[in-house]
Symmetry: C2
Subunit: 346 residues, 2 copies
Amino acid sequence: MEFKIAFIGFGVVGQGLAEIFVEQEAFLKEKYNFNFKVVAISDTVKGSVYDENGLDLKNLLELVKSTGKIDSYQEGIKGWDSLKTITDTNANLILEVAWTDLKTGEPAMTHVKTALKNKKHVVMTNKGPIALAVRELLEIAKENNVEMRYEGTVLSGTPALNLGLYNLAGSGITEARGIVNGTTNYILTEMEKGLSYEDALKQAQELGYAEADPTADVEGYDALGKIVILANTVMGASLHKDEPPCEGITKITAEDIVKAKDEGFRWKLIAGAEIKDDGSVEAYVKPEKIPLDHPLANIMGPTNALTYTTKYLGDVTIVGPGAGRAPTGFALLTDILDINRLLSKS
Amino acid sequence: MEFKIAFIGFGVVGQGLAEIFVEQEAFLKEKYNFNFKVVAISDTVKGSVYDENGLDLKNLLELVKSTGKIDSYQEGIKGWDSLKTITDTNANLILEVAWTDLKTGEPAMTHVKTALKNKKHVVMTNKGPIALAVRELLEIAKENNVEMRYEGTVLSGTPALNLGLYNLAGSGITEARGIVNGTTNYILTEMEKGLSYEDALKQAQELGYAEADPTADVEGYDALGKIVILANTVMGASLHKDEPPCEGITKITAEDIVKAKDEGFRWKLIAGAEIKDDGSVEAYVKPEKIPLDHPLANIMGPTNALTYTTKYLGDVTIVGPGAGRAPTGFALLTDILDINRLLSKS
């Protein structure tokens, strides 16, 4: 089959994937038999363009870089909003990478539901709809015989979620825990080097790791959203995203960090989920003192890591980036290639 | 579809999977829509039994445990050898887990070719045929429109190979390196605790980590076979398994280990493969002094780890068991479930 792709949103993540597409198109076609064209991009700020025969991505990336807009693209239909792009273009794969309100999951939620109901595959990196309604969305996908994927919602392109969903299927996963927020891990790493919390946060903001309003990171809510997604999708839980106990790193002082190190420990913000004996799943986010010889203690800077505890393999840990333009762009690609692999058999 | 499975070989690995099947049959059917029955087992020592309607695995495991044989199983046809079991039973999936000569790859090579040419899917854990002829075998599988998988040849059930082949497809892998032999890593770990090489080796043998003849492990040949498989399958190389430079751990003394530690390093047996600028792939096995703050330095005991260096994700590392009854049995299951996932779509 040929994938005809529409980008809903063309910010950092969308552009990250577009850059990979431009660089790797020939390789992806040859090596993975992945045939595609990008037919539409719709972004509330940068504009919208649709050409059923395919867009020139390289040209569009240059336009965004030089003008911040895609309006001056020479060909195609302009001005279609997200929903019209989802429903009325010939796209059969929708990439949902628009800005989204984490509390309501909108407008991503509506985008995803509309796409699935119109029998279009969906790949997304927005946590909102998955944290709020993954079961319902997977059910709609199934009813319409299309695929929905969201690897990028946890550890960006590091395949933590697909590892649990596919590679470790049948391994008897009983627990997952790890460092799933790079901003806080970076701050803790810098504090160990001697910076105050305030200076470490400021540095994280300057480097683009932390937002101007760092609340979601430092209070643990970002990590909580990720572990809830993981618990609900990999471990069969039905947790609401605000339900599990959540404590961030704001109460940890430079003195705490030095003291722990002297005792052979290192403070880490740990997100975890565990299947209890009665089958229920408990999740949490909290700072923990980890022994220095434990693998998670040695994950430094913005790097993320997740350990699955399983019945047949014991512990399996994956370590990799948790954010960034290329890694999150790649998260979309890994899901798209998996859908391509599945559908190539049919 | 329904998988009708034949075990060629019923040693530690085959029994490892059989135990998982017995424990998880209902769960695997419900959760992954994996419908299967085991129709045949053929083992040169333990005997052979075939029933087109399915065997009672629990009963067979008990027989092996109590008598070392499966001959006294009440039902079915007895005495078919490996090749007859592959060609003449109604099995559509062959599990190749027989004893194999690493130099010639036989009899596994003949088993696998025969199965593929008879249009039967193959999943195996034997390194021989893959290290010697993976390209040819994949070509035969393709010609006959069946799947061939071999996750268990590298890091047992820790999904190191499938991570590179599938999850990191398109990430731009340029290098893979890691600790892929648990026996030598266990010996080095114990030597750091104060044991001599001889005592550490003896302990590894008592625990079942090392063979009576430990040459393949301690001289690096086992690690070499794994990195060659990885280079040839994930990185597109065409290396012969005896080609790359290979040095084991036998020259490392207790003094070397103490001295390295004092300097902030730890000796590890590293297997690596790298894509060079001209597109060629160079592989090697050699002991290296790794800085103590490097993730690979903290992989202790029989645990394995592999780091992929990629263009879009930077480094992605997976850590997990590299051997053992349940982990290697699970390696077969992860491949079988992936084939089931692919074929469920068709």
